[in-house]
């Protein structure tokens, strides 16, 4: 299921700015733990952003997106009360979707 994201969406002058803070370890598979063992790779590979159920952006990510990924982007249109939905899928197949309302 993954851990919840924080999403903030604000509309200003006809543009909706969406900021997302995801909650994910983003392990590269190259890091060693305290005992010298490699920590297996586990990272978000796909992200989808929707505004009012319409896909506005899709992303593919690699290992080098930072832990607890931050993402900010802008979409034309949208208004107060509109629904923003962000989904991710990670390399283990786990998924998570969270929603927010445009303010």
């Amino acid at each position: 299921m993954g851990l919840p994201m924080k999403i903030r969406a604000t509309n200003k002058d006809g543009v909706t700015e969406i900021k997302v803070l995801m909650n994910h370890v983003m392990e590269t598979g190259l890091r060693k733990d305290a005992s010298g063992q490699l920590v297996p790779a586990l990272f978000i590979t796909e992200v989808t952003a929707k505004l009012n159920d319409k896909v506005v952006m899709q992303a593919q990510w690699g290992q080098a997106v930072a832990r607890n990924p931050y993402l900010a982007f802008k979409v034309k249109g949208g208004k107060s009360g509109d629904k923003v939905s962000i989904s991710w899928k990670d390399s283990s197949g786990d998924t998570r979707t969270d929603e927010a309302t445009v303010s």
């Binding site: 590269t28 319409k54 593919q60 832990r67 931050y70 034309k76």
Partner: protein, 156 residues
């Protein structure tokens, strides 16, 4: 009507329903028909090889692409980067970190309503050029910036 026939009919209806859903999903996002995760591109090291894997032909360094980041990253584990494209019809923005163990970091496919501006945070193993790669009308444009890393973000 025998039960077997009923079951087949139901199965048929379910199948056509699914097809209908799949078709409408495609119709909603014609520019965003994203393929499965591009494993080979994300596991490739080095700019030239990543470009080859992505089918990027002769990318042009352009002043209309900006990459914004600080010159020095004290902690390579969290490096804020922003890419902005002023090129019309920008449909894709990617971040590449030349000297990371895997060069391609993130690739964003932008729908028609998106402004061509993306901010995120990346990990850097060492001082490297960070490249914003922009696709517009099938052509590729880049902007590059060297970010010095004092403490690497990928090692143990």
């Amino acid at each position: 009507m025998n039960p077997g026939h009923q079951a087949t009919r139901r199965g048929f209806l379910r199948l056509t329903g699914l097809l209908g859903l799949a078709t409408s999903a495609l119709a909603l996002a014609p520019r965003l028909a994203l393929a499965a995760w591009n494993k080979s591109a994300f596991e490739t090291k080095g700019l030239a090889d990543v470009y080859k894997t992505l089918g990027v032909v002769s990318p042009v360094a352009s002043g209309d692409v900006q990459i914004n980041a600080s010159d020095i990253a004290e902690n390579g584990a969290v490096v804020p980067v922003e890419a902005i494209s002023k090129i019309p019809n920008t449909t894709q923005i990617s971040f590449l970190i030349e000297k990371n163990p895997t060069t391609l970091t993130a690739q964003f496919d932008l729908g028609p309503d998106m402004l061509p501006e993306i901010s995120t945070r990346v990990k850097m193993a060492e001082t490297s050029n960070v490249i914003a790669l922009v696709k517009a009308d099938g052509k590729f444009y880049t902007a590059s910036k060297e970010i010095k890393v004092t403490l690497g973000g990928c090692g143990g």
